[in-house]
Symmetry: C2
Subunit: 310 residues, 2 copies
């Protein structure tokens, strides 16, 4: 096959996967909207700010990982929808709090004013604070989740660990502490493993946990896949902050270097960072081999995530 024909087929596949992503995005929009309190319920301003923050934007990458993993382990999308919602809610809480003036002080998110700009700081604080219990509540009692009580408890434990001091909140604390400091690349990767890696990993492994009879070897393969994709995703994000287009990203670029954040591009340069993404991408694809055809969605998603331009 000629190189141009090969590229044409790849483009077709990407278009097809773009349709899949859009389908998942729309599913999540409905799934989240149905699980949030209505904006008219007292306290209305808080509920309105929650809906503003959760709905109407976002690529829903973590839910896509949940759905793609469900395909790989033989579950329906319905069976993991509540888990995908719980993960997306904690992701949104982290965005709302990270945007606050005391943290990254961002005015723009997903092309719209951040929650504290559209409302106020106190409301944004409470939006994040209230999204956390909502996420755990879904895992505890969402009727659409067909998991046993024991599996629900494991999902709660996994999510709690992913966002706690050894996961996302801890990564954020390290991120704040190291601004302007010299780190070696191992320290940068440790920070990323917590800050974004932990929730990416939880997205894949919580979906896997919903299939309790899954072969432990396959669970291990998904764990390796999630580690590689989580880190590569963060490097790609940091590369886009240097090389990306603000209008495509829906947020300002150059923010990392302005804050002197130690990122892959800052520590090892752009070409070596791109090389690291390619290596991790290969590791991720390799990890999926035991799944054969069933991992097609995960493979396509990894490819999309690591070659995205926004």
């Amino acid at each position: 096959m000629s190189e141009s024909a090969d590229r044409r087929i790849r483009n077709d596949e990407e278009d097809e996967f773009g349709t899949q992503l859009e389908t998942w995005r729309l599913r999540m929009e409905g799934a989240l909207a149905a699980r949030l309190p209505e904006a008219e319920v007292v306290p209305a301003r808080l509920h309105e700010a929650i809906r503003y923050s959760v709905l109407g934007g976002g690529k829903r990458i973590r839910p896509a990982l949940v759905f793609a993993t469900a395909h790989a382990v033989g579950l329906t999308e319905d069976e993991v929808e509540a888990a995908a919602c719980a993960i997306e809610l904690v992701h949104v809480y982290s965005l709302v709090h990270d945007d606050l003036p005391a943290m990254d002080n961002d005015d723009l998110r997903r092309g719209r004013p951040t929650c504290h700009k559209a409302y106020d700081e106190a409301t944004a604080l409470l939006v994040g604070d209230a999204l956390q219990p909502l996420a755990f509540q879904l895992l505890a009692q969402d009727p659409k989740l067909p998991a046993s009580p024991a599996v629900r408890l494991r999902l709660i434990d996994m999510l709690a660990q992913a966002i706690g001091t050894l996961g996302m909140a801890g990564g954020q604390a390290i991120d704040l502490a190291v601004q302007g400091k010299q780190l070696d690349i191992g320290q940068v990767e440790d920070m990323h493993a917590r800050k974004t890696g932990a929730v990416i990993r939880a997205s894949v492994l919580m979906a896997a946990e919903c299939a309790p009879s899954l072969d432990p070897n396959l669970y291990g393969a998904l764990s390796r896949f999630a580690n590689a994709v989580g880190l590569a995703f963060q490097i790609q994000d940091d590369l886009l902050d240097v090389t990306g287009d603000a209008s495509l990203l829906g947020k300002a670029t150059g923010a990392d270097s302005e804050r002197a954040k130690p990122t892959h591009p800052a520590v090892i340069g752009i070409p070596a960072s791109q090389q690291r993404v390619r290596l991790l991408h290969n590791q991720a694809i390799h990890a999926l081999l035991p799944f054969g055809e069933r991992a097609e969605s995960l493979r396509a998603l990894a490819h999309w995530l690591l070659s995205r331009r926004h």
Copy 2:
């Protein structure tokens, strides 16, 4: 019996209960310390700030309600210790976030600098954010909690509801929205039922939930007790803000009227507020009648809470 002899006996009983409270306080100090990450674990500054915020202060009123309820329903203190810790952790998260400049902007808490004064705002934000998952994690997997998976899930659901938009976070949002506004006393009580009442209620009912074979009538009695005590506790708190001694309270007084918060003393005056506390106190004691002797700790605790001067 003469009135003075009667008063002497009451004072003796109060002293005895003071010893009980101190015993519970010390138990909680150890129980919490054992469940928090060590201050040396990375990220050290965050873990240090968590220990600073959680340990070394506080009356541990909510854990006292958990232990006293355990006595009433025939459980040991050991059996509810993890639940008491989870409740105290979410209480501390709410204090740390409420003290932030965007909320109440308080410098002093429990006689010491607030978390954002002792550390910084970003760290205080993350302390609160990280205490929530830790609380849910304890309920999901603390080995000392002898509850079935189904009971654990109910505890998680109860705590999530108590701190969500229909509970504590919602009450806080209403509190912010109504500053400087005229409310009738019904609206004030609705706000309090969420802001402080919901977690007080959860403290009693989560302990009751740990005794799955409890007679539903007794559960109902505890629910009525918790509603009355929760509201009376908040009124008493607002009375102390007007009439209390800052050095005893360990925080500034007069803050509510400065912020034009609609409280019982502000809306119905001090004497009517004191009268309301007495009425609710009677209702609480009345609700406990079916328990007989077994509710002695709960009765003494209600009495202590509603006649306290700090």
